[in-house]
Symmetry: C2
Subunit: 494 residues, 2 copies
Amino acid sequence: VDSVTGEESVQRMMAEKVLTVDTMNSCVKKVEYAVRGPIVLRAVQIEKELKEGVQKPFSEVIKANIGDAHAMGQQPITFFRQVLAMCSYPELLDDDRFPEDAKGRARRILQGCGGQSIGAYSASQGIECVRQDVARYVERRDGGVPSDPDNIYLTTGASDGIVTMLKLLVAGEGRSRTGVMISIPQYPLYSAALAELGAVQVNYFLNEERCWSLDVSELRRALADARRHCNPRALCIINPGNPTGQVQSRQCIEDVIRFAAKERLFLMADEVYQDNVYAEGCEFHSFKKVLFEMGPEFSSTVELASFHSTSKCYMGECGFRGGYMEVVNMDPEVKAQLTKLVSVRLCPPVPGQALMDLVVNPPQPGEPSYSTFIRERKATLSSLAERARLTEQILNTVPGIACNPVQGAMYSFPRVTLPARAIREAEERGQAPDMFYCMKLLEETGICLVPGSGFGQRDGTFHFRMTILPPTDKLKILLSKVKDFHQRFIQQYS
Amino acid sequence: VDSVTGEESVQRMMAEKVLTVDTMNSCVKKVEYAVRGPIVLRAVQIEKELKEGVQKPFSEVIKANIGDAHAMGQQPITFFRQVLAMCSYPELLDDDRFPEDAKGRARRILQGCGGQSIGAYSASQGIECVRQDVARYVERRDGGVPSDPDNIYLTTGASDGIVTMLKLLVAGEGRSRTGVMISIPQYPLYSAALAELGAVQVNYFLNEERCWSLDVSELRRALADARRHCNPRALCIINPGNPTGQVQSRQCIEDVIRFAAKERLFLMADEVYQDNVYAEGCEFHSFKKVLFEMGPEFSSTVELASFHSTSKCYMGECGFRGGYMEVVNMDPEVKAQLTKLVSVRLCPPVPGQALMDLVVNPPQPGEPSYSTFIRERKATLSSLAERARLTEQILNTVPGIACNPVQGAMYSFPRVTLPARAIREAEERGQAPDMFYCMKLLEETGICLVPGSGFGQRDGTFHFRMTILPPTDKLKILLSKVKDFHQRFIQQYS
C-alpha cells in the first residue's frame, strides 16, 4: 500500500480533474439540442423562481418548446392504457372492468414475453409478434406493399433508430468523410447526432416561399457543393415536417427517391407524424409505398430506412419511448451488423414495445373498444387540426410575423422580421437575434418557444418554433401574448 | 425530371449498394457482444427447428446465457407491478384491490409527470422526485454519506449510463488516445462500447486462483503497459462481478480508490448486482461509501460514476430498462456537457423511472404491503443464494471443471480443461476452443451458455458463463447434463 505524504495529498487536492472540458470528447462539445437547450434551462429556472414567490408579469411558464402532448393535457387512448395496465399486473386480466378485446391484446403480448412477463428482456430486434403486427400495419397502410417482419426493428423511440442508422453510415476520413444531407430547418436530433459522430452535415434548404416544400434543384445544389469536401451518402427527410409542418406531395417524394437512386444516397424517412395531417389536399404518402409503386427499378435498389414512434400522432406517448424502423434493400451483411449492434443494448423498453403493438393493431370494427377508440382518436386529431389552423391564422394577423400553413405535425415555424437595432443588440450580447427575441418573450410573458437558429434557417432570416399543443383556450391566450409582445418588441427596437 | 434509359436502370440494379460492410462504420464492425452473439443465434435457430418438429436429443433449449430472471420464471415484486399498473391506468386508483401504500406511490409518481401522465417526456435527467428518492436511498445504503439529487441521472438501464460516461471520456489521437481499464473477465458491454468509440481497451486480469479478486499490482502492471501506447484515463470495475461473481472486499475497494487517486483515473463502478450477495463473509460496499469514509483527501478529489439498474438484484425487471448513475466530483462544466448530451435523447423510459422509484423507495415497516414485499424479496434472494451454492457445488464434482465460489451476481464462470485434440479441432475450424465446446453442448443438450472467450480470460484458459437463474429443479437437470456432456467430450477428444 502506498503511503501518502501530506504534501502529495495537498497537491492532489489542487490538481486538475481527470475529466474536464479540455480533456473530454471534443465531438460531444459540438453537440447542441435546442429543444431542451439554453432557453428551456432558463424557463425551468423561472418556474423555480415563481414557486419561490418571485414576482413576475405572469403566473406560469407555458412550455410550448417541445412536442409533448400529454404534458399539455392531451389524454391517452383508454384502450392502450388498459392493456398496458394488464401487462404490468396480469391479475387484472380477471377484472370485469376491462373489455375482452383489451384482455386479448394483453394476453397476446404477454405470451410473446419471456416467462410471460414484460420484465423479461425481449429479443434485441423486438418481440416477434409485435414486429409481425408492425409489418401487417405497414402493409395495410401502404395498400398491400409487402413488409417483412424481419426488416422491422423496434427501437427506443424513433431517435434511437435514427442514431443507430447514422452510426452505421458514418465512415471515412478527410475528404471521404461521410456527409449526410439534412433539411434546413431540421429537427436538431440530426445535427446533434452528426456532430457527435463527427460526420459532415450537408444542408439542403426547404423553400419557405412555397410552403417549405422540397425542390430537387436545391438537393442537387447541396450535393454538388458537398462532394467537393466530403462523401455524401445519405439523405434524411422528415415528413410530415418538423419544425416546418409541411406535408410533402407525392410528386415530391417520387422526385426525392429518383434523386437518391441516381445519386446513390441512403434514404432516411422520418415519418413519426404520419397521422398528423390537417390541411385540405394534403395526404401522407409513406416513402416505402411510393418507392414500391415506382416499380422494381427503384423498389429493388433504393436503400431506405423508415422511422415511426409512439410519441406523436394521436397517441402522444412520449414517455414510453416506443418506436420502430423498417429497413428496405439493406445489404444482408450490413443487416447482420445492425442486428449485432442493437444486441449490445439488449432490447428496447418492453412497455414501449407493447404500446407500439397496440398502435399498429388497434381496436377493429365490431370489437368492444372500437367506438371509444375511434371517438378518442378523432377528437384528438381534429383538435390538433383546429389548433393548427388557429395558430396559423392568428400569427398571420401580426405585422412582421409570417406563418406558413401548418399542414401537419405539431408545430408552427413562423418567420419574424426583426428590426435592425434588435439584431445589433443581440449581436453585441453574442446572442443569435431570434434567441434574443425568444428570451425576451420568455422573461416578459413566461412563454417558452425555441428560436429558429436551433433548427437552422437561411442566413438573415429569423423564426421561432412553437408547438400547437396547449389546449385551445390556453393556446389563444398564448398567441395573443405573442402578438402583443411582438408589437412591443418592434416598437421598442424601431 | 430526369429520364432514365433502360441501360442506366439495368446498371443501377446491378450496382453495389450504398451501405456495405466495406463502406460502413469500421468501428461498428469491431463490436462484439457474446451474450447475444453467435451461440445465441444458433440457439434461436434450434428452437425454430424444434418447433418445426425436427428431431433432437432434447425437447427444449435452455437459455442460460443471459441474466434474465423473469424469462426463467422468477416472479416480479407484487407491489411494484401494482403501482406500475395504476401509473398506466390511473382509474385503478379507485380500485379496492390495491393497497393504500401502492396508491400513494402511484399518485406521487404521477404528480411528478407532465400532465400527470407517464406518457409525457420527463426532464432529461429524470423525474425530479425520483432522483430525490434515489439520493435518499443512496444515503441510507451508505450510512448517511450525503447524496445530491442533482448528481443523479436516471438512465435507460445501466448500459445507457455506462456508454454515456465512456462517450464523454474518450478523446485524443494516436498515443494520446484514451485508454479505459476493464477487468478480464468483463461484461462485454464494456469492450463493445470501447470498440464502437474507437477507444483503447486496457485489460487488467482478475485473479482466478484467489476467487477472482483484484490485485493492485496487476492494475499497476496493466497501467504501466498501457501508458506506452495510449492515455489511460478511466478504470471500470464491476462489483459484484459479472461474469465472475466475486464480491470485492472493502480493503480491495479502498486499494482501487487509492490507485485511481494516485494515477488520476476516472472511476466507473458498475454495481447493478448490489443486492445479489450470497456468500458468508461477503458484503457489498459501495464505492461511494468507501470513498467518503477514506476522508476528504479522496472524497473531494476522486471522480467517480456509480451505476445501478432495475434489471438484477431481486427485481429482475430487465424489460423496463430502468437505471441510474450517480456522479461524484464531476467537473461542473463537464456535468453541463453531460446534461446537454442526455437531453438529445429526451428522457429515459418513464415506466422504468417509476420502477426505479419503487426500488429505492420500497414498502416500509408498518405499511400494508411491507410484509408481502419482504417475503417476496427474501424468497427470491435466498433462492438465488441456494442456486449459486448448488451450481458451484455440482460443477466442482466434475473432473476438469473448476468453479470458483459464486459469491454474488447471477452467474458461474467455471474453468474447463479441454483436451489438446479438442483445442486443435477448434482451431482448424477457426473457432475459439470454448466456443467449439459450447456449440457442441448446445447441439447435444439444448443448453445455451456463453463461452469464456466472449468475456475475456487468460491465454490458454477456457471458461463458460452460465446463469444460476433456471428454477432449482431445472438447474439441477441442466448441471447434470453439463456434467455428462463434459465427461463425454473429454472421452471423445482424449
